[in-house]
């Protein structure tokens, strides 16, 4: 009997589900078995259910002016417990090192004295903001939320592709994908033990409260959005709702004498922590772009005075600059005295004349990225570029070597993805999200798996036609609870438990357990 996996072809990329053709890896065995038994019609029906659910809830994105449901591929990506343990430790390590680096860059600058990274390189980053020097966050955290993009190379090794320390987005899709999957494929959850992701907003709120200015017992947290026409507005609104805090726009806030307040129907109310989903440049027209109507005038000085906390901190972008990225392994060794758990992708720095020449000679074999880009914009994949594009690129690099890095082409791992009526291998990456509350870095079990939907494409960004997959971290087979935290100890030791139940249970006469019904109608019926 034919099934949806027919004709699934493996190439040199690491495939997440299949080690060899028709032979699923152990964590995927149960999933493969369920999917194999589905007909294309049955699968299409579930796709329709998914689309309706996303559209009704307004989880859509605009593509050439039309609202499309968010593209969730219904084949989940599965990560075994031991693989996840490595990712979790690696991501937390990286966030800790980058936190220390940021504190150093906007503070003492010891890393420059130690000769680990050139001062000139850091100060020339377009995301280095002099305005952030001297803004000391109350609990020392600058990277409250981060998204560390990982890929899996031909050997199945997880590598860091880039760090996102400004306003990484996608967490709402992680939570909503899970909710949609459990509606569309409830039977899959019965056969798998998947770690929950819905605790993220509560964790984020805790971390934001912990970041409040000193001396505030019950801080007021808000989410600052550019407004409902922003592409990520759904996520802003999602987080505000799930945390139970106000979603504000710049025009709702007012800053006077370094105190930030929001305008409410009962007057102005003090705000202590602002989780902003607005780029640095638009945050404060007094410090950055004067034409920005999205921000709040005076906000940065209020943060400098310690009256309000901006999360994530201003100036974080310097640490996710792609040239700085190439130094993160060294920074990890320098600050933590540890070997990096997750390796980088091999990266060429083009400031050095010899390296640059080497790269220019091999442009058609490498990936070239602008150092301050995000969302896949400006990226050039050598083997897929035309001669004309390469010539332009060559001039560009020669003129501005600081603006580019080069990397070897990595065959991103593939995962079965529904396309053209059957499952086909498509390239994927993974963005785990980490929340730093100052005491520990917590990583959401799972994260956003992005998938490049066109055949052979290596670009997974949703702005470039990418989709996503629900990401399942399977519980450790030995664990007894899906929540890794130890349960709280019982408040009172019960010496004689049976005493609790000594009082006799109430008599339950016939019908007493039933719900009350409307009496009048029934008696009327019986009397006539």
């Amino acid at each position: 009997m034919s099934d949806l996996f027919d004709g699934y072809e493996l190439d040199q990329a690491f495939d997440e589900m299949f080690g060899r053709a028709d032979d699923p890896r152990p964590p995927y065995a149960a999933l493969h078995e369920t999917l194999r038994l589905l007909s294309n019609e049955e699968f299409a029906e579930r796709c329709a259910t998914r689309d309706r659910s996303f559209r009704d809830q307004g989880i859509t994105f605009s593509l050439s002016g039309e609202e499309r449901p968010f593209p969730l591929d219904l084949v989940p990506r599965v990560i075994a417990a031991d693989e996840w343990a490595l990712i979790e430790r690696g991501v937390a390590q990286r966030v800790r090192a980058l936190e220390m680096f940021l504190a150093d860059v906007y503070g003492a600058g010891e890393v420059f004295e130690a000769g680990i990274i050139p001062r000139r390189l850091v100060y020339s980053s377009s995301h280095f903001h002099r305005e952030a020097v001297g803004v000391n966050p109350p609990n020392g955290v600058r990277v409250h939320v981060s998204g560390i993009d990982l890929i899996r190379d031909e050997h199945g090794t997880f590598r860091v592709l880039e760090d996102n320390l400004r306003t990484p987005s996608g967490i709402s899709y992680v939570v909503e994908n899970r909710r949609a999957m459990s509606q569309v494929f409830p039977e899959l959850f019965a056969s798998h033990r998947v770690l929950p992701v819905a605790t993220y907003p509560a964790r984020l709120l805790e971390a934001l409260r912990a970041a409040a200015p000193g001396g505030v017992d019950d801080p007021t947290v808000v989410v600052l959005t550019p407004g409902m026409y922003n592409a990520a507005y759904f996520e802003h609104s999602f987080l505000a709702r799930q945390m139970g805090v106000e979603l504000v726009e710049g025009r709702d806030l007012v800053c006077r004498n370094n105190i930030v307040r929001m305008r409410t129907t009962t007057g102005e109310r003090r705000v202590h922590v602002i989780y902003r989903r607005l780029d640095d440049e638009f945050l404060d027209p007094m410090q950055f772009r004067a034409d920005s109507a999205l921000g709040v005038a005076g906000l940065l000085n209020a943060a400098r005075a310690g009256e309000v906390t901006i999360a994530n901190a201003v100036g974080n972008g310097v640490a996710d600059d792609k040239l700085v990225y190439s130094y993160v392994p060294d920074l990890t060794r320098y600050y933590l005295g540890e070997e990096p758990i997750l390796p980088n992708v091999h990266t060429y720095r083009l400031g050095d004349d010899d390296v640059r020449q080497h790269v220019l000679n091999r442009l058609d074999e490498l990936v070239l990225k602008p150092v301050d880009g995000s969302g896949g914009y400006g990226l050039v994949i050598g083997p897929q570029a035309t001669d004309e594009e390469l010539a332009t690129l060559r001039d560009e690099i020669t003129a501005h070597p600081r603006d580019w890095i080069a990397q070897e082409v990595v065959q991103l791992s593939t995962s079965p993805t529904h396309a053209e009526g059957k499952f086909q291998p498509r390239h994927i990456d993974l963005r785990p999200f980490a929340v730093n509350d100052g005491d520990r870095v917590w990583v959401v079990p799972g994260g956003l798996t992005r998938v490049a939907l066109p055949k052979g494409s290596l670009v997974v960004n949703s702005s470039q036609g990418g989709g996503s997959k629900d990401t399942w971290v399977l519980a450790d087979p030995l664990a007894t609870s899906l929540h890794p935290e130890p349960p709280p100890p019982p408040a009172v030791a019960l010496s004689n438990q049976s005493q609790l139940f000594d009082t006799p249970a109430p008599e339950t006469g016939p019908g007493l357990g039933q719900q009350q019904q409307q009496q009048q109608q029934e008696s009327l019926v019986s009397s006539c």
Binding site: D56, G58, S237, R241, D252, T265, A290, D291, L294
Partner: protein, 308 residues
Amino acid sequence: MLSRIAESMFWIGRYVERAEATARILDVHYHLVVQDALIDESAACAALLTVMGAPDAINEDVTLDEVNEVLGYSLDHPSSIAATLFAARENARGAREAISSEMWETLNATHHALGGRVATARSLGPNSFFRYVKERAAVVGGLVDSTLCRDDGYRFLVLGRALERVDMTARLLIARATVADTPGGWVTTLLCCSAHEAYLRTYRRAVDASLVAEFLLLDRSFPRSVLYSLNEAENALIALDRQQAKTGSDEAARLLGRSAADLEYRRLDELLAELPTHLGELQHTVASAASAIAERYFRQTRPMEWSA
């Protein structure tokens, strides 16, 4: 709560009510004209367009289908049902953390389904479209009742809905009072408010012009009567006003309270004799109260311009 969110809640209340009331009015109007061969179609349509605030759309022989386009289906006309529901949905989109997910989904799904419903209505007649709008408005009303916390957001929504009801009922009575008096016409007026049965239960006699006006203006128990809605709006304002020391300290509440007292304590024959004047005043009161509410609660919600 945030002023911007309060404003959105107020307008969700108004827009959903407006869509529902417009659907009721168009539905009854359409079937009345279709069934009665003696009615001059274009005159009736012109009168309706005038009272619904769309006199621009009137032409020499305006048809029922044109009225349905302008007041029902067209997104280009700001008070059409489609545009009103879209505006309600956009407000809800900006205030999602203040309303329940179910309420948002209902408004969002309604907007998405509307295009298909319009296509059906154009080919099979408008009744299914109007019924759909009324049902969806009822679902929203039910969700407001069962899923919203009784906080200020809820009160602003109720306030908007009550003000809109006063306005729409006043429009309806103006429409009736300005055209030739026929008993059938007053039944239509009652049907537009789904008040025919309530009227019959209350008065237990045939429909009479002055009694209908009295019922729709002054009945204390019918939820779409002007007096009931004025009182509901005033109560919402009183609940919102934390610092209230004495009656009339809030401008909007003062305007509404005065209007309610004026209706209630004026002699009925006097009221009916000058009906168009009083109805015009009512509409004016609603507009002034809305401005006073915006002035007090929604102020400073425009983006601040900053020039270096």
